[in-house]
Amino acid sequence: WQCVYVFWSVISPQLRSVSVDLNHDASLLIDIPDALCERDKVKFTVHTKTTLSSFQKPDFSVPRQHEDFIWLHDTLVETEDYAGLIIPPAPPKPDFDSPREKMHKLGEGEATMTKEEYTKMKQELEAEYLAVFKKTVQVHEIFLQRLSSHPVLSKDRNFQIFLEYDQDLSVRRKNAKEMFGGFFKNMVKSADEVLISGVKEVDDFFEQEKTFLLDYYSKIKDSTAKAEKMTRAHKNIADDYIHISATLNSLAADDMTANKKCTTWLLEGRVASDQDLKLTELLRYYMRDIQAAKDLLYRRARALADYENSNKALDKARLKSKDIPQAEEHQRQCLQKFDKLSESGKKELTSFKGRRVVAFRKNFIEMAELEIKHAKNSVTLLQGCIELLKSN
């Protein structure tokens, strides 16, 4: 449990469908070929292959922790220049609580179950642990790949540091100002939630987008939560099957049909985790992505509010005949910022729409195909089992 190496390229295609069009540009290719889990911390190996001259080497790797990813995400969000972009959502913290708790319970209940049952349960738990591990590696990888495939973000200086800097990033991370800034940003954002409903929208496109995204976000958040519940229930059933097959095995030691049944039922566990990867992850990912899109709208709304305030300030200045050039300059800047945000925002949101539809499509197809494949396997197994029983 302490150290687990993962070479996960085998299953990495699964989550790729969550976000498509990544890692096609050979000028900057990023992947996470392996990761190490030590106690609570996961250490990712971030590997970069590039033809860009801005990097010192064409091929290199660095170790990174989850907190480093968060730092990178937050610095990008705080960068004014990127206010008009959808910043890819930060990868969630690796969460091993569920399998760890189960393992703990298993250890406590070891005395009450047979050796075989215990071994099977342990195997299942290890598989679950591995699945969580793979998932977290994937979301971190996708985050980086979203950045590398973005025309503007891929050129970010901090991104380059993240990829290249071969020392510990923790010094940069612990920058108190940034941490405080992040906190402040979140505080203001919730106030802005009210703002966004209040600001008069000038552009039809953004008005529609706002309505759509607000509604869609609440719906997808709901669906994500319900999907997670469904997957959990599936997992419980899979666990029950393990107990059943173990008890059946001890009841009928010479009955090989028990073993066959066991395999059938273990399929249920795998269906659960596939469904989890496909549907739940898809929903979860796009929930976060839509939040990122909403963030863009907030920033634009703030810029609009700033612009309107600057107008008011200019009017006041003109009235008082004081500081008019400054007010004019401020107003000009606000308008410029707002226009820039609107222009880039429109582009980003349009491409986001397209990206989302493509990802859903790919995911749904793969999910349906997997369900069919597993069900067909089940059918074959069950038929064989029934044949065997009937012929005895």
């Binding site: 229930a233 059938t264 029934i386």
Partner: protein, 466 residues
């Protein structure tokens, strides 16, 4: 185990009674039997959904069930294909009688028998019985037959809570499920009784099946469920407290008893897990239904038309999955869990007959020691020279010698019966488990095949997203 199909009518009780009476007349052959029960849906085997509800669900799902009034429940059963007994098949049909009201109301079960045995008055007949009648039958049988070392199948559990709800007239799905569960359990109980060659010959059994009006059984509180098990365990304790320990010339009995105990333990464990499985699956049902709705809402919000359509379709697929899960839960319960419950009780009954044998041995031993005492008393009297008392003593000795012989013979006979019974039981058990597990797997198989169809129908929708 008999396959069950269910149908619900939307008729008033009176009309239902009329309908029932009409059907009663036409209750002539097995074919007619099956026809009546399955109405539109044809055979009682599982089929694709026709109309709003899948015809052969074991339990109705709350959503699609039309009238859920218990008065309108009718169930019939197919003859048991695994019956080896001489052409006797017993079917158990249930309906709610209007007899009594409120807390005095009770459910009457229609027991229909089809037979070719000459000892019965007719070939096809049915009677009405209530739950306490079944318990009464068990009591009569166990008093008589267990002395011979027979394994008497135990009846299903009494349940005050379940029956109260039913009596109060609650029409909710759990009450319906409860009544159906009981009906199926009673049916299995009867099937086991009539497939036992010795029990079938018992006049009480015949009376139970044939007689129009059965006198009310009393003292049934002690029986069924916890009461039954307590009885068995008390007997076991009595045996264990025996001061004279049996010296087995043949280890078969000891070994077998140990086997039975182990098996019972394992089945209990399994039952607990299967119960958990049933609950989790019901939970999954709920979660899936909720998720399907949420997904449908999401589909409505989606502005891309093709994706919106696909989301709605996916929501429908999930809805269908929920139905599959529900049927699977019913299958888990009615096929698997109930099977385990039955055999836990049956193994208790097996233990019971081992105890009977022990008690027979004990009786024999006690008689022997009494005989010994009598002989010693005779010797004393001889020495004391009391001729009249001596005569009495000699008579007593003769009496007790006869008893000892009798009890020894009884003990041997019981031993043989127990052996035979256990072997028969094991064969029946293996058959029963096998057929039930096949049924369970077949249900699962059908479920998976339907699942494939659902997803295959969805796939083009997903591909159509643009």
């Amino acid at each position: 185990m008999l396959l069950v199909t269910k149908k619900f009518h939307n008729k008033s009780e009176f009309e239902f009674m009329k309908l029932f009476a009409a059907r009663n007349d036409s209750f002539l052959s097995a074919d007619a039997n099956v026809e009546l029960s399955t109405d539109k849906s044809g055979s009682s085997a599982r089929k694709e959904p026709s109309g709003p509800r899948h015809a052969s669900s074991f339990t109705p799902s709350p959503a699609a069930m039309q009238p859920t009034s218990l008065e309108q429940v009718q169930a019939t059963a197919e003859p048991n294909p695994l019956k080896t007994c001489e052409n006797l098949s017993t079917n158990c049909v249930m309906f709610l009688s209007s007899l009594g009201d409120g807390m005095n109301a009770y459910v009457a079960y229609k027991v229909s028998t089809r037979t070719s045995l000459p000892m019965f008055r007719s070939k096809v007949f049915s009677v009405r019985r209530r739950f306490s009648d079944f318990l009464g039958l068990y009591e009569k049988l166990s008093v008589k037959q267990s002395l011979h070392g027979c394994i008497i199948p135990p009846p299903p559990e009494k349940s005050v809570v379940g029956m109260t709800k039913v009596k109060v007239g609650m029409d909710d799905p759990s009450s319906v499920e409860f009544v159906e569960r009981r009906r199926a359990a009673l049916e299995r109980y009867l099937q086991r009784v009539v497939s036992h060659p010795s029990l079938l010959q018992d006049p009480d059994v015949r009376e139970f099946l044939e007689r129009e009006d059965l006198p009310r059984a009393v003292n049934t509180q002690a029986l069924s469920g916890a009461g039954f098990l307590k009885m068995i365990n008390k007997a076991s304790d009595a045996v264990n407290k025996m001061t004279i320990k049996m010296n087995e010339s043949d280890t078969w009995f000891e070994d077998k008893f140990q086997e039975v105990e182990n098996e019972e333990q394992q089945l209990r464990k399994l039952h607990v897990v299967v119960d958990s499985l049933v609950n989790h699956r019901k939970e999954l049902c709920g979660n899936t239904a909720v998720f399907a709705k949420s997904l449908a809402m999401l589909g409505n919000s989606e502005d891309n038309t093709a994706l919106s359509r696909a989301l709605s379709q996916l929501a429908e697929v999930e809805d269908k999955m929920e139905q599959l899960h529900q049927e699977q839960a019913a299958s888990d319960f009615f096929i698997f869990a109930e099977l385990l419950g039955d055999y836990i009780r049956l193994l208790g009954a097996v233990r019971g007959c081992f105890d009977q044998r022990m008690r027979a041995w004990q009786r024999w031993q006690e008689a022997q020691s009494t005989l010994q005492k009598k002989r010693e008393a005779e010797a004393k009297l001889l020495w004391a020279n009391k001729p009249d008392k001596l005569q009495q003593a000699k008579e007593e000795i003769t009496e007790w010698e006869a008893r000892v012989t009798q009890y020894e013979r009884d003990f041997d006979r019981i031993g043989m019966t127990v052996r035979k019974e256990v072997l028969r039981f094991e064969k029946e058990k293996a058959k029963d488990f096998k057929s039930q597990i096949i049924k369970y797997l077949e249900a699962m198989l059908q479920s998976q095949q339907r699942l494939i169809k659902f997803w295959e129908a969805f796939l083009p929708e997903a591909k159509a997203i643009a």
